[in-house]
């Protein structure tokens, strides 16, 4: 390395272009920062239990909801504000645009509650009473009613968990046993019993209702069975809100989607993404590393290897959708179709492997990320000083021993870097998955207790596709937006953390060897 420029120089004008160049650096940094900030704030803000305002309009209307945003009016002067008022079953819509000038009063009463429900989205209003469906009537002590509601919801939550557990651990295996052997009387008996127990649980959950009232006094009888959670945002302290926020984040990570992907969590998508990426790295690592070792250590460095290197770079530049087409044509229709004909003939015409699935998606992405691994590993191998190899050879090691004992251990961080970069690339790639096996909603995750445990032919959910699908094919995109932000944040975080690890590894590797690549 030559020392480049002297430190002190008389300041001369560099002309406008140099400043514009500096400006373009600043602009790219600004855009990157802006994008990350936008996703982070919107994504995390979604889980915060925001205050609910009760708004009185000039024409006497009363509304309660969360203020979402404000825009200037199209025609006249003034601004209008968008409120998320929930109560889709009472009002027929969950959003209201209100002119700011017509708002007479806006306050945040402590007793407003928010209910998260299985159907019709959220409810915002007041709790009047709890009781049986037939005999529910006004009760005096609001505070006591609220506490009873909370206790009742906790019980329901437990019952729901119990039912889920029964279904998963008892019912499904029994049904499978019966499918395999319809004459199994013992299993039939056990199934009937288990069904009875589930029915008893259902009975215990049903029956009770909450009498609700929205702010302008219309009432609603809400079966408690469909209520998931209730909270009073205006009466909560910051610490309590933080608690709710944390639980919200957790539920987002750990639960499955509801309401046509517009609510709930993304657990199946996380699971699908991770599984697909793991499979892919299992496929790509041996091939990529071996190819790189061959190219760099074994093959004669001539015209042919030069051509191969160009080909590898080329492969990295081929659009991902073309890989998708290749995967669809060769893996899904070609190999998958033949597999179906040979092994799953009785299931035809409904395809088993002849449709998009986990295996084909991983294979396609493995092909897509192969150049990444090869290039990174090769770079690492090329950085190992020639003296190391020569030293080993001089001490009497064979070429194989040199390779396995000296060169490869030194190149491990580079391989890791390559694999991590490949994973980061694969985790964010969606276009090929559209063709080879991603699903809007996969009812079964590809791993379960049923032989062979890992179901390579099943479709799976993917974080990136979840974003695309929820944002563009949902019913109420407006309501699903916060969730899309949160999913995007999760995806970006995963990809960025992976990339940072790769950058750190590479830096560490360079610092340790402190050598320049072979010219």
């Amino acid at each position: 390395m030559k020392v480049a420029r002297t430190k002190r120089r008389p300041i001369r004008s560099e002309g406008p272009w140099a400043w514009l160049a500096a400006g373009s650096v600043a602009l790219s940094l600004l855009m990157l920062g802006g994008l990350l900030l936008l996703i982070a704030t919107r994504g995390l803000g979604h889980f915060w239990p925001a205050m609910v305002a009760q708004v009185e309009m000039a024409d006497g209307r009363l509304l309660a909801g969360r203020a979402v945003r404000e825009l200037p009016l199209e025609q006249s002067a003034g601004r209008e504000r968008l409120y998320f008022t929930a109560n889709r079953d009472l009002d027929g819509q969950a959003w209201h645009w209100l002119p700011v000038n017509d708002i007479v009063a806006s306050e945040t009463p402590q007793d407003l509650i928010v209910l998260e429900r299985r159907r019709h989205g959220e409810f915002i209003g007041r709790l009047v009473a709890l009781g049986d469906a037939e005999s529910v009537r006004e009760q005096q002590a609001r505070e006591a009613t609220w506490e009873r509601l909370q206790a009742r919801l906790a019980t329901l939550q437990e019952l729901r968990g119990e039912r889920e557990r029964l279904r998963r651990e008892v019912l499904r295996p029994l049904i499978r046993r019966l499918d395999a052997d319809p004459s199994d009387a013992q299993a039939r008996q056990a199934l009937a019993e288990a069904n009875d127990r589930v029915r008893v649980l259902q009975e215990a959950m049903r029956g009770e209702v909450a009498l609700l009232e929205n702010v302008d006094g219309r009432r609603l009888v809400q079966p408690l069975e469909e209520v998931l959670r209730a909270w009073r945002p205006n009466a909560m302290s910051t610490v309590e809100k933080l608690g709710i926020w944390g639980r919200g984040v957790w539920r987002f990570l750990a639960e499955g989607p509801r309401d046509g992907n517009a609510a709930g969590g993304v657990w199946p998508a996380i699971f699908g993404t991770v599984l697909m990426v793991l499979l892919m790295s299992l496929l790509v690592t041996p091939f990529g590393v071996l190819a790189a070792i061959y190219l760099n250590e074994v093959a004669h460095q001539g015209r042919l290897t030069h051509l191969v290197r160009i080909a590898v770079r080329n492969l990295a530049g081929v659009p991902s959708i073309v890989y998708g087409v290749f995967g669809l044509g060769v893996f899904v229709y070609g190999i998958g179709g033949s597999l179906d004909e040979w092994f799953f003939n009785d299931a035809l015409p409904s395809p088993t492997f002849g449709t998009g699935g986990l295996l084909w998606a991983s294979l396609t992405l493995a092909l897509l990320t192969l150049p990444v691994v090869i290039v990174a590993t090769e770079e690492g191998l090329a950085r190992i000083p020639v003296q190391q190899r020569e030293g080993a050879l001089a001490l009497g090691a064979t070429r194989l021993e040199t390779l396995t004992r000296v060169v490869l251990p030194m190149a491990v961080p580079a391989m890791l870097t390559g694999v991590i970069l490949a994973i980061a690339r694969a985790a964010g790639e969606v276009a090929p998955l559209l063709l080879v096996g991603v699903a809007k909603l996969a009812p079964q995750v590809p791993v379960d207790g049923e032989f062979p445990f890992l179901h390579l032919e099943r479709k799976f959910m993917h974080l990136g596709y979840h974003i695309y699908d929820t944002a563009f094919h949902g019913n109420d995109v407006q309501a699903a937006m916060p969730l899309v932000y949160a999913t995007a944040l999760l995806l970006v975080l995963v990809v960025l953390v992976l990339n940072l690890t790769a950058i750190f590894l590479r830096h560490y590797f360079r610092a340790r060897h402190g050598v320049q690549p072979r010219p």
């Binding site: 400006g23 530049g317 659009p319």
Partner: protein
């Protein structure tokens, strides 16, 4: 490895060729279906590159020539992270957040195109009036950082002033004015948004390659020019840039290849309308997006399926050619640098 590259090409050709030769295709249908898609692809790439090239080259020039070594070693990973951002996320933000927002603040957004460069020049002019201590503190080599808050201020100022200007010059709505005076139809998801988003996605890779080419120029060339009294910018323009031109060309080619094949951003931000116009305010449909939307539903072997495979083949051939060209240029360039540097 060659096998893998060939496999993709061979598969695509094998699927399409019999149909092409056997006359399954009606030439009129090819023209009808593929021309708008090809047009859209090129249009999207054009707008993306219009946005990405100045930004990437500017950033590359700045970081290769003006930045300190330390700052540069921080800058590169940052832009690498930018490259790693998934296309879906960029597409989502562009299509559902940026597009409606720009639609509402059209005048301000367009004004930014003018305000930002002028603002940077204004900053340069102010900088020359500053006392020497300050000038050293806010040096040009760190301008990439301290200009960020200045640009934020400019953006904020532009958007708060824009409605007034709009009312003054365009009767309150630039959108209506465009429609009335110039006959330009404004679609929410349009080529401008796609160009912006895809430019954002493509820019880091162009930057990385261009920066490599620029900083690879043997330093004795630049030092010689500076010793003869040239400013850094003169050195760049007369000495470094001509030497690195092939590398920069290769960077642009690879960037174009990326832009042509990018799927998700176009799919989410373009509106997917098969229009043939060059207007930045109208949508388009690209080959990649068309394949992604239609291929899963096409019956294998049918005409629609083959048409889409043909589109994939075209994409593959295009990127293949572009990348090979760029790769050849780059390896020539590396040899030239070694020669310039006095190596045998």
């Amino acid at each position: 490895m060659i096998v893998a590259v060939l496999a993709i090409g061979v598969f695509l050709v094998l699927e399409v060729l019999p149909a092409l030769l056997g006359g399954v295709f009606d030439p009129a249908r090819i023209r009808l279906e593929l021309t708008p898609m090809a047009w859209g692809t090129l249009k999207a790439a054009l707008w993306a590159m219009l946005f990405a090239i100045p930004l990437a080259l500017g950033a590359a020039i700045h970081s290769a020539l003006f930045m300190s070594q330390r700052l540069r070693s921080r800058m590169k990973p940052t832009l690498e992270m930018m490259e790693a951002l998934p296309g879906v996320v960029i597409g989502f933000v562009a299509g559902l957040v940026l597009a409606p927002w720009v639609e509402r603040h059209l005048a301000g957004s367009l004004a930014l195109l003018l305000v930002l460069p002028l603002g940077v020049l204004l900053a340069a002019a102010i900088w020359r009036r500053l006392p020497a201590v300050w000038r050293r503190h806010f040096s040009l080599s760190r301008a990439g950082l301290w200009l960020v808050p200045w640009l934020m201020l400019l953006v904020f100022a532009t958007f708060s002033l824009a409605p007034g200007l709009e009312a003054l010059l365009f009767d309150g709505s630039l959108r209506n004015w465009l429609d009335r005076e110039l006959g330009l139809d404004y679609a929410t998801r349009n080529a401008m948004i796609v160009g912006l988003a895809m430019g954002f996605a493509v820019m880091p890779s162009v930057y990385a390659l261009a920066e490599d080419a620029l900083s690879g120029v043997p330093s004795r060339l630049g030092e010689g020019a500076q010793a003869l009294g040239a400013t850094r910018w003169q050195t760049l323009w007369r000495v470094v840039l001509p030497a690195a031109a092939p590398g920069i060309f290769a960077a642009m080619m690879i960037g174009t290849g990326r832009a042509v094949g990018e799927t998700m951003i176009v799919l989410m931000a373009s509106g997917n309308t098969a229009l043939m116009s060059l207007s930045p305010f109208e949508g388009m449909r690209t080959m990649a997006a068309g394949i992604a939307v239609e291929l899963p539903e096409a019956v294998p072997g049918s005409e629609a399926y083959l048409l889409l495979i043909l589109a994939a083949l075209l994409l593959f051939l295009f990127t293949f050619l572009v990348n090979t060209l760029a790769e050849v240029v780059r390896s020539r360039l590396r040899r030239r640098y070694r020669w310039l540097d006095g190596a045998p």
